[in-house]
Amino acid sequence: MNLKISNNQITYIRKANLYLISLTLLTFIIGLYFSLLVSPPDYIQGDSMRIMYIHVPSAWLSLFSYTILAASCVAWFVYRNPIFNLIAKSIAPIGAALTLIALVTGSIWGKPTWGVWWVWDARLTSMLILFFLYLAYILLWQSISNQETASKISAALGIIGFINIPIIKFSVDWWNTLHQPASISKLSSPSIDINMLIPLLIMTLGYMLFLITLFLIKLRTEIIDQKILRLSIK
C-alpha cells in the first residue's frame, strides 16, 4: 500500500490525541454527573432507566460507525487512496465494540423492565445481525494474508453489508409484526423530558469524542504498521 502520509502528519495525530483524551474524560465526567446524579429518575422504571445514558449513545454510534465504514469503502472505490481502507479497518472493531455494548446494556436494562434478558424485538435482532456484519468484515480482513488484497476485498464486503442493512431492517421489521405482540413497541418512541435529554446529549458527545480518540489511535497504529510492512518488503 502506497500511503502518501509523512511522519510529521502522524505526529500531529498523536499530539491531537492528548487533547482529545482529556476532553473525552472531561465530557464523560460531566455527562455521568448529570445522568447519574442530577437527572430525575423515571417515574415507572425508577433508577434502572439510567442505563439509557450508556445504552442509547452506543446504539446510535454503532450505526454511525458502520456508515463511516461503508462511506470510506465507497471512497476507496472512487479515489483509490488506500488510506480509506485503513479508515474502514480502524473503525470496524470500535463499531463492533459499540454494538456489543449496546446489546449487553440493552439486555441488562431489559431484565428489570421487561422481566427477561432478551426479546426477539425487531431492533434487538437487527443490532445482533449488525454485530455479525462487523465481525465478518474484521475476520475477512484478518484471514487474507496479503494486506493489499485484504484491504480491497474487505472494501467490497463493507459495501455489500451496507446494502444489506436496510434490507435486513425491512425484513426483520416485517417478520416482527407477524410474530411479536405489540407490548414493547410503546417504549420505542417515548417523549423524552428535557432534564433527561441534556445528559443524554452530553453522553452522546462523550461517546463521540471517545470514538474519535480510539479511532485516531487505531488509525495511527495502522498507518505505522503499513509503513513498517513496506519498509520490510523493500
Binding site: F132, A136, T149, I153, A156, L157, N164, S171
Partner: protein, 208 residues
C-alpha cells in the same frame, strides 16, 4: 463456451465423483432428524419441516461452496477459463447455473416427495417448493460472490458461514412465509446485481 462451461461443471459433479448423491443424502438426513428432535406429532412436524428445509438448504450450500471457484482456482483451471476470451459476466452466470443445477436442483426436486412423509399433499407442498426455487437462486448468487471474495483467504469454512448467514436472513424470513414469493424475487434480483459486480471485482483482484 457458456454451455461448455456449464456442462463441464455438471459433468464434474455428476459423473466424476459421487458428490451429487452425497449432498442429496446429507440434505435428507438433516430432514430425517426433525421427527427425532420434535417427536412424531403430525401438526408440529408440519410446522418444523417448513422451517428446517431452509436450514438444510443453507447447510448444503455452505458445505459445497468450495466447488464454485476454489477447486478451479487451486489447480489453475480458473486462469485458463479467464484467458479464453469469454466475458467474465458470462463465465460467472455459467457458474451460477452450474452450481444451482448440481446442488440446489436435486434438493428441490426431492422436497415434494420428502414432504409426503411430513403429511403434506403435493398441492400443499407447492408453495414451499416455489419459495425454495426462487430463494435458492438468490442464495446461490450470494454464495458465489462470498466464495469469490474469500478465494485468497486461508481456512475459510467457518468464515464463509459468518459472512453468508447474516446476508441470508432476509431470504429465510420471506422464504418461510408462503405468500411472499414476489418479495423473494425482488431480493434475488438485488442479490444478482450485487453479486455479479462483487464477483467480477474479486476475481479480477485474485486473477492478477
Amino acid at each position: 463456451m457458456f454451455l461448455n462451461l456449464i456442462m463441464r461443471d455438471i459433468k464434474l459433479a455428476f459423473f466424476t465423483s459421487t458428490s451429487f448423491l452425497i449432498t442429496a443424502s446429507f440434505f435428507l438426513l438433516i430432514l430425517i432428524l426433525i421427527p427425532f428432535i420434535f417427536g412424531s406429532e403430525i401438526g408440529l412436524l408440519k410446522v418444523m419441516f417448513q422451517g428446517l428445509i431452509w436450514i438444510a438448504l443453507v447447510l448444503s450450500i455452505l458445505l459445497t461452496l468450495t466447488r464454485i471457484f476454489n477447486s478451479d482456482y487451486d489447480d489453475g483451471n480458473l486462469d485458463i477459463i479467464f484467458r479464453s476470451g469469454t466475458s467474465l459476466e458470462l463465465i460467472i452466470c455459467a457458474k451460477y447455473i452450474a452450481y444451482w443445477i448440481t446442488i440446489c436442483m436435486p434438493l428441490i426436486v426431492l422436497v415434494p416427495f420428502v414432504a409426503q412423509a411430513f403429511n403434506y399433499s403435493f398441492v400443499q407442498a407447492f408453495p414451499i417448493v416455489l419459495n425454495l426455487l426462487i430463494g435458492s437462486f438468490g442464495m446461490v448468487f450470494i454464495a458465489t460472490c462470498v466464495s469469490a471474495l474469500t478465494l485468497g483467504a486461508k481456512r475459510t469454512t467457518f468464515l464463509k458461514g459468518i459472512i453468508i448467514i447474516p446476508l441470508y436472513v432476509p431470504f429465510i424470513i420471506f422464504g418461510v412465509d408462503a405468500s411472499s414469493w414476489p418479495i423473494l424475487i425482488g431480493l434475488s434480483l438485488i442479490a444478482f446485481v450485487v453479486s455479479i459486480y462483487a464477483t467480477i471485482y474479486s476475481l479480477r483482484l485474485y486473477g492478477e
